[in-house]
């Protein structure tokens, strides 16, 4: 590469590089932030100009102050904690169960052909419909909520596992078989790692389904800690600012988990599995 900034001293070169990096960062922030800023601006403008009744669309500031009140008076932090804990638990159980079922039954055509359509059918039934059954069977306590969340995650994960298994390169499987891999050894050491990159995408989808299922479930016992209860109570008394505050919290959690967890996981797996340009 040709010398950058030609003729500068070492420290000047470093400065230039730093300012380059700063500019790159600014560009990055603009590129990723302009739309959110625009949305917030339009929102603020609409409410500040008084075009919409505040009970239909509270001002951004009002929602923020409601959010503050929720954190101080309702201890929203512990709600958030409780919800996230349930979410991670239910999601993890659903993921493990779904992937295990897929791996264990996806090897046989008869097993898969029998089970897969049933799961696909169940997947078309919204979790909310299973809630009354879950309360009767598991009680309203943690178990029902967990069961519903895990079930909501289980179905798409099992389907994703089946899908991923069909996309594994036949040559790879043949290579494994030729080397003597069979049965459980094959599923554990070859099939499973081979589908990991697809599963990572599936995990994100499962997370989204887990959220849906959990929110539906948390709505039952509104008094207990959990974002769903706050949402439902806000809805019940027509406090639109509470509803929007909770939406905001879920949104931020969604973006943060996506960026901090899923994107990294995906990047790591893709690198490890050599799916992005090596080097």
């Amino acid at each position: 590469m040709s010398a950058a900034g030609g003729g500068g001293t070492g420290s000047a070169g470093r400065l230039t590089r730093a300012s380059h990096r700063a500019r790159a960062l600014a560009l990055e922030v603009f590129r990723k932030g302009w739309f959110v800023t625009l949305v917030l601006l339009v929102w603020w403008l609409i409410t500040a100009a008084g075009w919409v009744d505040p009970y239909k669309l509270p001002a951004p500031g009002d929602v923020l102050s409601t959010l503050g009140t929720l954190f101080t008076e309702r201890a929203l932090m512990s709600d958030l904690g409780a919800t996230l804990l349930r979410l991670v638990e239910g999601w993890a159980i659903g993921v493990v169960a779904g992937v295990l079922l897929g791996l264990l039954t996806g090897g046989s055509r008869t097993l898969e052909d029998g089970i897969r359509p049933v799961i696909a059918g169940l997947q078309s039934v919204p979790t909310i419909a299973f809630l009354p059954l879950a309360i009767l069977w598991f009680g309203f306590s943690g178990t029902a909520v967990l069961a519903v969340t895990a079930f909501g995650t289980f179905k798409p994960m099992a389907l994703a596992t089946y899908g991923a298994m069909h996309q594994v390169s036949p040559t790879l499987l043949m290579a494994g078989r030729a080397l003597g891999a069979r049965g459980l050894f094959m599923q554990r050491t070859l099939m499973f790692p081979a589908i990991v990159p697809s599963l990572v995408t599936g995990l994100k989808m499962g997370w989204s389904f887990a959220w849906r299922a959990l929110m539906a479930a948390e709505i039952i016992v509104t008094g207990a800690a959990g974002l769903g209860g706050v949402l439902e109570l806000g809805r019940e008394i027509g406090a639109i600012d509470v509803v929007m505050a909770v939406i905001l919290v879920i949104l931020v959690v969604g973006i943060v988990t996506e960026q901090l967890f899923f994107t990294r996981l995906e990047r790591w797996v893709n690198r490890r599995w050599g799916l992005v340009g090596a080097r």
């Binding site: 040559t171 494994g176 030729a178 080397l179 050491t189 090596a278 080097r279």
Partner: protein, 266 residues
């Protein structure tokens, strides 16, 4: 182990489900211990099918395959396979890739370690043992694939177009390497390729197949001392013979295919 040939294919044939034509007509040939045999022929003539039957990955419709004196009913440690696109496991390091077959056969850990290192040394890759496949060049990947096969100490090595995804220069280098490795370890080899020079250069015997449906149409013996030079005039002449024969066959196949196309209105 008996002292018979390494491999005996007797009337093995295959028609795939839902296909209206045999992929391979009843085929018979024999490979002696330590012999290097190539299969050449146009695309779709059943080379991979034949190799799959020998590997025990595809069951012949009728006929039989006998490897190292025993009938083939499935994959076995005595036969190892190398695929066109290396087919390495991307999530494992080079070391663990080579180790995989030994794990599947429950070889004890200490012995595994030693054998893997030996195999990697043989293909000159002992210094990249901890890399992942995507950190290697295409040629290195294919050498790992060969090590993964050799570590099983196979009596029969099966190779399905192992170099066809590589560029010409790397290919030339690897062909030299393969000759060296084969001279050192001496398994019987069944080698599939489209490259006639490669086949002539490496083999003791070349079987030429033709498609529509697949069968062996001609067999060439290559009686030249080793190590050989690629530019040997006898090799070039052999290549020319085979090319002529193939052109005739391919022309015939195309004509036949056109006829079929008319009937089935593809």
């Amino acid at each position: 182990m008996s002292d018979g040939p390494a491999l005996r294919v007797s009337g093995a044939c295959k028609t795939y489900e839902r296909s209206d034509q045999a992929a391979l007509l009843p085929t018979s040939f024999q490979v002696e211990r330590g012999e290097f045999v190539s299969l050449v022929g146009p695309s779709g003539c059943g080379k991979s099918t034949l190799l799959g039957m020998i590997a025990g990955l595809i069951a012949p419709d009728s006929g039989s395959v006998e490897a190292l004196g025993e009938p083939v009913t499935g994959p076995g440690a005595g036969r190892a396979m190398v695929f066109q696109d290396a087919a390495l496991f991307p999530w494992l390091t080079v070391f663990h890739n080579v180790e995989y077959g030994l794990r599947a056969h429950r070889v004890p850990k200490a012995e595994r370690r030693e054998r893997v290192q030996d195999a990697l040394r043989l293909v000159h890759l002992d210094d990249v043992a901890s890399r992942h496949p995507h950190e290697l060049s295409g040629g290195m990947r294919q050498r790992v694939s060969i090590a993964r096969a050799l570590v099983m100490r196979p009596g029969i090595l099966l190779m399905d177009e192992p170099f066809s995804a590589l560029d010409a220069q790397t290919r030339t280098i690897l062909t030299d390497e393969l000759q060296r490795i084969w001279l050192e370890t001496r398994p019987a080899v069944v080698f599939v390729t489209h490259n006639l020079i490669e086949a002539a250069f490496l083999s003791d015997t070349v079987h030429l197949l033709s498609s529509g449906p697949g069968r062996i149409v001609k067999t060439y013996d290559v009686d030249l001392p080793r190590p050989r030079d690629e530019a040997h005039p006898a090799l070039l002449e052999l290549r020319h013979d085979m090319l002529d024969r193939l052109r005739a066959e391919v022309g015939g196949a195309i004509a036949r295919r056109a006829q079929i196309a008319e009937v089935t209105a593809l």
